[in-house]
Symmetry: C2
Subunit: 199 residues, 2 copies
């Protein structure tokens, strides 16, 4: 039936997207050629164009897929009934988990979005700014209520989002720490800080 055929087609496309994310992650967007991507999929470069429009579309789908997932989760957390510190912890943990589960896509979305062309670049930046803005509002409300330490909300947001990129380094040398322990320690660093409170 039509559904099956459609699934087959989208399956192949998903496979290409998956491999593209992997290639972009390893060698960057400009450093990855359509020929090498095709080779990784066991095909020739022009065959890719039976499934996708071009190289840009690959980057665009990767970046916006990630962006929409984070935006959706942010909305869910915002509407939950948790306290602000709890909400922030939920978001931090979601970021870490997403990076564990969709490592290549999140990695590429973090680094290679600059290679998006107009008008997609502007769209992406708008989503990103909106995301950071809503997160900053959350922090600001927390500071105002006294549940969070007094801090510039934008610095807090940029600092947290950047800190999560520690997963990028850790993922390549998993060491002996379990993903769960890594997540817990990173959240602790951001929530409680590094220095022990003076008695």
């Amino acid at each position: 039936m039509a559904g099956v055929a459609s699934n087959k087609k989208t399956d192949r496309k998903q496979q290409i997207l998956h491999e593209a994310a992997h290639g972009f992650m390893q060698h960057g967007y400009t450093g990855t050629s359509m020929r090498s991507l095709a080779a990784a999929l066991g095909m020739e470069a022009p065959s890719l164009y039976n499934h996708i429009k071009g190289k840009q579309e690959l980057l665009r789908q990767i970046c916006f897929g990630v962006a929409h997932r984070f935006m959706a989760q942010l909305t869910i957390v915002e509407q939950s009934e948790a306290s602000i510190p709890q909400k922030i912890e939920l978001i931090l943990r979601f970021h870490v988990q997403q990076m564990q589960q969709h490592f290549a896509a999140v990695y590429v979305s973090n680094r290679d979005w600059k290679h998006l062309q107009a008008p997609h670049l502007a769209d992406f930046l708008q989503i990103r700014r909106q995301y950071e803005g809503r997160l900053a509002s959350m922090v600001e409300a927390g500071v105002h209520s006294g549940l969070l330490q007094p801090i510039d909300s934008r610095v807090a947001v940029l600092g947290m989002l950047s800190a999560i990129r520690a997963v990028e380094v850790w993922k390549k040398h998993p060491a002996q720490l379990s993903p769960q322990r890594f997540e817990d320690n990173l959240v602790q660093l951001l929530v409680c800080g590094l220095v022990a409170p003076t008695k």
Copy 2:
């Protein structure tokens, strides 16, 4: 005299390195062509080769210049008589300041070192691992002495170093916050954490 002639030569080379860092930062290593770099300097691409060996040398000098500067400062801080929390704060502030003062070079060193070719890639990674290792030892000693909260030292180091990359985002939208205030807030986030202590 010879010194003056030598200075003129190295001046031109420094100028090329400076512009290369700027280009690499904007468009990435593979996204920056020798022709566009030459154009930014008001010259033709082949003329660059009177001063440098090739594109790789540009990346290498940028990355290792940054790496050596951080390594030297780490040694200085290690040998100082400050407490461990103070030492860590000194290093954090040095990172932020370096990123403010040599933004392009640090940015490229953070992102494009992956495009270093053998054997330079291995050398760079060794320096980086050594840096992270010595920093982790410092954290570990702090945890052991009770001055720092109990935390996995590697997570703490990766988290802090990643968090500093918030400067990358902030630098492009300086907003209304002064560099000093930004630095203070970021250090506070990492040292004291986000959540206010429960009374």
